[in-house]
């Protein structure tokens, strides 16, 4: 993948999204809540999710420290390895009673401890991206952005397989799958503004409904009232930013996502995510490259001749020919990740780059899909998050270190202090 800089007017790859990118430094300087001693640009965090785990043998690194030799699957990050922190031996405890895959996606970012079960049987509480967004979202137009490159049009699996971001148990921050919808949400200022007039009315309806409901249903209704408040704030802020957005001069993506190649789809979604982070429309994003399990075959053009069967391959990986295919698929995902990392690196923010101010994390809720194992979850963090992360190395933690330690550390890097989080036992030393 060649390194390329985004031109002032660049075309999002393949999508037909043409966007003029003005320098947004002025905006960064004017962020009022940042203290003078803090870096000028805001810190951002983004999560890049790959479903069904990875082939561990091709993923694992032998050496730790700065001079580790890249494993076959991690090859694509070669040219940007100095911006990467690779972490081994982080664990998530799997709980019995719910499907291994549904749990993998749903509980990966969860702030619940394994013994803290929701009524649905998942250790599921507000996910770490939403906890961070509770703070950072006070300053941006959109509190967070949830994206998914789920290409399936059948309804084979439930929401638990298709979402990594949750406001809480039973309250999903459902992801957008259509780049055109993402685009419209981010850049169609007038749509937001036009919605404002009825907000008081519907909020009043919610209030009139509330006293009549049972406790359980009141809880459900708060999803609605929370959403109204979020949208209200969003409208105010989007309105405030409308000149900036107008300067971006965006045009709608023309190509329908159904017609996109697999890599194109992931890159277009990634580009939209980068654009939102870069223009400070949000500081928190999640991007699923695909849903968990979902045993439907899928075309990965240019990489595989026949439709791939990601999930069933993971269970057949002790067969060498299947494993090789799976390794190739893991490589494909790493290529997509590396490509987005390089795009972030090419975006200047003062003396730094967008990548320098972001923690862009690749991971999966399973280490290997073969036995639904959750120890040694594949984890790579790109970017220094405004200097909080010591990149350029591979760190191996002692076995059984909970991944909640990483979430707590990332939250802290984003300015959200948590005494503890789920089953966390401490912080990650490489993040401060």
């Amino acid at each position: 993948m060649r390194k390329h800089k985004l031109a002032r007017r660049s075309v999002l790859r393949g999508s037909g999204v043409a966007i003029a990118l003005p320098l947004l430094e002025a905006m960064h300087r004017s962020t009022p809540t940042e203290a003078a001693t803090q870096p000028v640009a805001p810190r951002r965090v983004a999560f890049f999710y790959i479903p069904n785990g990875v082939v561990q043998t091709a993923w694992n690194l032998a050496e730790v420290g700065k001079d580790y030799k890249l494993s076959p699957t991690l090859k694509p990050i070669e040219s940007v390895r100095e911006h990467m922190l690779v972490v081994s031996n982080l664990d998530r405890i799997k709980v019995a009673g719910t499907d291994g895959h549904a749990q993998a996606s749903t509980c990966w970012l969860s702030s619940a401890a394994p013994d803290e079960l929701s009524p649905a049987g998942y250790p599921l509480k507000r996910t770490i991206d939403q906890i961070i967004a509770d703070k950072t979202g006070l300053e941006t137009s959109f509190r967070s952005l949830e994206l998914s490159c789920n290409p399936y049009e059948d309804n084979r699996e439930s929401i638990y397989f298709d979402n990594i971001s949750w406001f809480g148990h039973g309250h999903v921050a459902r992801s957008l799958r259509d780049p055109a919808d993402v685009f419209n949400r981010l850049f169609r200022v007038e749509e937001h503004v036009n919605s404002s007039s009825v907000l008081d009315l519907v909020m009043e309806d919610a209030r009139s409904l509330r006293p009549r409901l049972s406790t359980l249903d009141r809880h459900k209704l708060s999803e609605y009232t929370d959403a109204v408040r979020t949208v209200e704030r969003q409208i105010t802020r989007v309105r405030r930013r409308q000149d900036d957005i107008a300067k971006l001069n965006p045009t709608t993506p023309i190509k329908p996502w159904q017609a996109m190649r697999r890599d194109e789809f992931i890159q277009v979604m990634g580009d939209l995510m980068i654009l939102a982070l870069q223009s400070d429309l949000t500081r928190v994003a999640t991007l699923m490259t695909g849903p968990e399990r979902w045993g439907s075959p899928l075309n990965v053009e240019g990489w595989f001749d026949k439709p791939i069967q990601h999930h069933s391959w993971t269970h057949g990986q002790h067969n060498e020919s299947i494993r090789k295919q799976l390794e190739k698929l893991d490589l494909f995902h790493l290529e997509q990740f590396a490509s987005l990392v390089k795009k972030m690196q090419a975006i200047k923010e003062g003396d730094d780059t967008l990548l320098d101010n972001t923690a862009f994390l690749l991971g999966s809720g399973l280490s290997s899909g073969e036995h639904h194992v959750c120890n040694n979850l594949p984890t790579v963090i790109a970017g220094r998050c405004g200097g909080a992360i010591q990149t350029g190395q591979h760190v191996r933690y002692s076995e059984g270190t909970p991944i909640a330690n990483l979430w707590q550390s990332l939250a802290q890097a984003m300015g959200v202090e948590q005494k503890s989080l789920g089953d966390s036992t401490g912080l990650i030393n490489e993040i401060s």
Binding site: D99, G100, A102, A120, R143, E146, Y152, E153, D154, N155, R156, S158, I159, D162, F167, G170, H171, V172, A173, R174, L176, E191, H192, N194, S195, V198, L201, V202, E204, D205, A206, S208, L209, R212, L213, S214, L216, D217, K220, E223, Y224, D226, A227, V228, T230, V231, Q234, S296, P297, K306, P307, Q309, S312, H315, G316, H318, N319, E370, H371, V373
Partner: protein, 918 residues
């Protein structure tokens, strides 16, 4: 399936014999569930099979009400088959007749259904031809015989035989045609015997005004309006599941412990490390007998012969049945005294419901946005249950898989929000999975606006005059009153509740402010509608926390539950009126409303929304049979590739439609003697090379096309299980997947979803040719792989349900052996007891024990109706529904009406101070 392939010949003949000899031995409309054999065993006694085709709650109202088509309405048994008659002229009713042949001495015996007792004229239309015989026609119940010579030198209709003033009882009437000889001029058929042809038989009621055809209610002896207080008497046959057994005495406590001590306690004891289930009385005194979850598990596993495991000492059939009955009764006792049902949570509408609700609220001519999940796209309206008649031909396209069939956009600028996903093993209408996020709220806010302001709206909306047009100019006060009235009326319908003054004032104030800003009555009123469409009181199906002791829902709440259930939409005016004046709380009124709603075309939602999800038909969207192995599954048109699944998917849905329209038995979903197929789909089933020699391009039709009702004479076809749709979507690209199929049958047909597979699953070759090259069949290969007992126990339950379908290849075509020539072994057993050798015997087993499927279907439907997962506490409700359904032999409307009448549907759960049991 080519005609020369192996049939299960012995079975077919046996069946034919038994039907021919004694269909009336077991009157299909008997009151009690069919007893399953002398000793109460689930023995395969063919005489207990009921012909569920006789069940029909609605007769055709199309002026031919009393007409029974030979080829459609008579059971095609033995040598009976349908023959199309268009080649001989247009005079045959339905363009076909029933054809039979035999040698002198044989007879054709069948029966027709009489719905209500009375005095009838019976007209019989037969066919004449050169090789037809002389028959003695008898109606034994009426002691009538008539000799008829069917010879003619050309093929034509015989003079109509009219039997006048017959007094007929309700139920099946036997009719027999004995071949007693032939006209001297007649030539022999196939050098041995003679034929006969029956076009139709028509009943004309004599003792009642014949202009109003009798609406059949084959379950007249069943009270139509069950009263909710009859709980106690319902308990008598405790559990139809086990009641198939002969009456057994319940065991007393001593006998119970003798049973557990003998058969259970070796493994299930206090010290066992293998299992936590313990049948010893523990020291803390909390006996297993007070654990409902365990009671149910014990009962089910005992009844299904899963326990005691193979190799352990087994109870006798009587011992087992007595213990099962005892456990059932202990469970009912527990459930009766413990209120443990889980409440139906408030939930927002699904996307499907939102579309229908907006459509009906605003009287729109159609949908508001394209819904690929609304699979059937009818090009001429055909779903009219009021006619009691499922048309012979239906013109329909597939929105889900026929990409060209989805409307691009219906109203300019109106875009749907994301589809709601199905819960695992359930439906997409569960409160705990239907959330509102900021993104959804944005969508709703935008939707309301974009609908009313779309350029097509005024012509699309039926309220343009009554709601949006500006009223006659009057003084200000009266103008305001008109505005308020209009708003109040709209709000009542939208929010499905009485509207208080503050709400009206609020919306009116909003109207005034919009009016002042835009100076347009129409625009201001549209803005009001836009707000309503995003209001939580519209999008949430909410029920007030009930403070009454009875917990009976309010009229409005029942109305909403009912319309959401049957129509996936909001109540109409009539239902709302019954809700407003409280009459809907009367179970009889509620039942009348239910029946009225069930003949409204809007209940097509039960096919489009319920049946599609229940059958998990969406999985056909991404089924990809291997392109090289199954090239005919694909067709290329332009640069687009199409899958034949788009035609397959229609078939089970139209079967479901026809059952609803004619109110037939749900057992036809297991085994039907007809199916709706396009010509190409018929070719898929019957031709060696489907579609002939078509090239890849334009191989099959991808647009709307004609699906015609076809009589099936081969019981390997018919019903949903063996449909090409099911067989294809439960296969992998290069081979069938018996485990997926077994899990599908266990989940969809039996509602006993298998537990999730363990984390370590051994791999199996993905191509059956690869497996067969080692000399093994897929079945043998899979067995090799279940060496551990942990795997074997579960798979013993799942796999037979999949292997019985091995004769259907990965795209649903019949094969008598594998391509390598290896034989297919499709034998197995169901619940450890019902042995079957092939698919027809499997279907027979399900027909003989209708309680399995009827229970599963009722559970699925109840879960859909309540929008929640069922728990143990719902078992009594399900039992009641099941009993009534068994009595009506699975009549579709019985299931629905019983659900609506049930406690669970009409009352709120009292969850104060109760624990939840799963």
């Amino acid at each position: 399936m080519t005609a020369n392939l192996n049939r299960p010949p012995i079975l077919i003949c046996l069946l034919a014999l038994i039907f021919a000899l004694g269909l009336d031995l077991q009157p299909p409309l008997a009151n009690e569930p069919a007893p399953a054999g002398e000793q109460g065993q689930r023995k395969q006694t063919l005489s207990t099979i009921i012909d569920y085709h006789q069940v029909r709650g609605r007769q055709s109202q199309r002026g031919e009400s009393g007409k029974r088509e030979g080829e459609l309405d008579f059971s095609l048994l033995g040598k009976s088959r349908m023959q199309g008659m268009t080649a001989f002229g247009p005079q045959w009713s339905n363009n076909a007749h029933l054809l039979w042949d035999g040698v002198v001495g044989d007879s054709m015996k069948s029966s027709f259904q009489v719905d209500s007792p009375g005095l009838y004229d019976v007209s019989i239309q037969l066919t004449l031809a050169g090789d037809y015989g002389i028959f003695l026609m008898t109606l034994p119940q009426s002691s009538i015989s008539r000799e008829i010579d069917l010879y003619s030198n050309r093929v034509e209709l015989a003079p109509i035989v009219v039997l006048k003033d017959l007094k007929l009882a309700a139920g099946p009437q036997t009719i027999e045609f004995a071949l007693i000889g032939a006209n001297t001029k007649a030539r022999k058929f196939q050098n041995r015997g003679y034929l006969m042809g029956l076009d139709y038989l028509q009943l004309t009621r004599k003792d009642r005004n014949s202009s109003k055809p009798a609406i059949a209610d084959p379950i007249q002896e069943t009270p139509n309006t069950p009263s909710p207080t009859s709980q106690d008497q319902e308990d008598k046959p405790d559990d139809p599941n086990t009641n198939a057994a002969a009456p057994h005495q319940k065991l007393n406590l001593q006998q119970i412990s003798r049973f557990t001590n003998t058969f259970c306690i070796d493994c299930h004891n206090t010290t066992s490390e293998e299992t936590e289930i313990n049948f010893e009385i523990p020291s803390d005194g909390k006996s297993w007998q007070l654990d409902p979850t365990l009671l149910r598990q014990a009962r089910d596993e005992l009844a299904d012969h899963q326990m005691p495991p193979d190799g352990s000492e087994q109870p006798t059939i009587d011992q087992r049945n007595a213990m099962v009955k005892t456990l059932s009764s202990m469970l009912s006792d527990y459930l009766r005294t413990h209120q443990v049902a889980s409440p139906t949570a408030m939930r927002r509408m699904t996307r499907y419901e939102y579309n229908n609700a907006v459509r009906d609220l605003l009287h729109l001519r159609g949908d508001i946005f394209p819904l690929p999940e609304k699979t059937l796209r009818a090009f001429t309206p055909y779903f009219e249950p009021a006619t009691g008649h499922s048309p012979r031909a239906i013109l329909v396209g597939n929105r889900t898989l026929g990409k060209n069939q989805v409307e691009r956009q219906i109203l300019t600028g109106v875009n749907p929000f994301a589809i709601d996903l199905q819960a695992e093993g359930g439906f997409n209408n569960r409160g705990d999975e239907l959330g509102v996020s900021p993104i959804l709220l944005e969508s709703l806010l935008r939707l309301g606006r974009s609908i009313v302001h779309s350029p097509e709206f005024d012509g699309y909306c039926g309220l343009t005059a009554s709601l949006f047009s500006s009223p006659e100019p009057q003084n200000q006060k009266r103008t305001h009153n008109v505005e308020k009235e209009r708003i109040a009326k709209l709000l009542e319908r939208a929010f499905r509740t009485a509207i208080d003054d503050p709400t009206i004032k609020r919306y009116h104030a909003y109207f005034r402010s919009r009016f002042e800003e835009t100076n347009s009555f129409r625009t201001a009123m549209k803005d009001v509608v836009a707000a309503i469409l995003a209001s939580p009181r519209f999008v949430y199906i909410a029920e007030a926390s009930n403070t009454s002791d009875s917990k009976l829902l309010s009229g409005y709440e029942i109305a909403t539950r009912l319309s959401i259930f049957l129509w996936s939409s909001i109540p109409d005016e009539e239902l709302l009126t019954a809700a407003r004046n409280g009459t809907l709380l009367d179970p009889e009124v509620l039942d009348r409303q239910t029946q009225r709603m069930l003949v409204d075309p809007k209940c097509h939602a039960l096919t489009q929304n319920f049946a599609r999800q229940w059958l998990r038909l969406d999985q056909l969207v991404t089924a990809v049979p291997d392109f090289d192995r199954f090239p005919r599954y694909y067709s290329r048109i332009g640069c687009e590739q199409w899958k034949f699944g788009l035609q397959m998917m229609i078939e089970p849905l139209l079967l479901f439609d026809s059952i609803m329209m004619e109110d037939r038995s749900i057992m036809l979903l297991i085994d039907s003697n007809y199916s709706y197929r396009s010509d190409e789909l018929q070719s898929w089933y019957t031709d060696e090379l489907p579609f002939g020699d078509h090239e890849n391009r334009n191989r099959f039709n991808t647009n709307q096309q004609r699906y015609t009702k076809r009589k099936l004479t081969d019981r390997r076809e018919g019903g949903v299980i063996t449909s090409a749709a099911t067989m294809t979507m439960t296969s992998s690209p290069l081979r069938t997947s018996p485990i997926t199929r077994g899990a599908w049958v266990a989940t969809v047909i039996l509602n006993r979803p298998p537990p999730p597979p363990p984390d370590t699953v051994p791999p199996i070759e993905t191509d059956d040719r690869e497996i067969e090259s080692s000399g093994l069949t897929l079945r043998q290969r899979l067995l090799q792989h279940q060496e551990s007992t942990q795997c074997a126990t579960c798979h013993a339950q799942i796999d037979p349900l999949g292997f019985v379908l091995e004769n259907y290849d990965a795209v649903g075509r019949w094969r008598s052996s594998y391509t390598s020539g290896l034989e297919i072994d499709s034998s197995g057993e169901l619940f450890g007891e019902l042995k079957f050798k092939n698919i027809v015997e499997f279907k027979n087993a399900l027909l003989q024990h209708p309680e399995f499927f009827m229970r599963a279907f009722s559970e699925h439907m109840l879960s859909y109706a309540l929008g929640r997962e069922l728990t143990l506490a719902d078992e009594p409700t399900v039992n009641t529904i099941l009993q009534r359904t068994l009595k009506s032999h699975g009549q579709f409307t019985t299931v629905i009406r019983e659900i609506v009448q049930s406690q669970a549907f009409r009352y709120q759960v009292d969850d104060s101070g109760s624990q939840e049991i799963r």
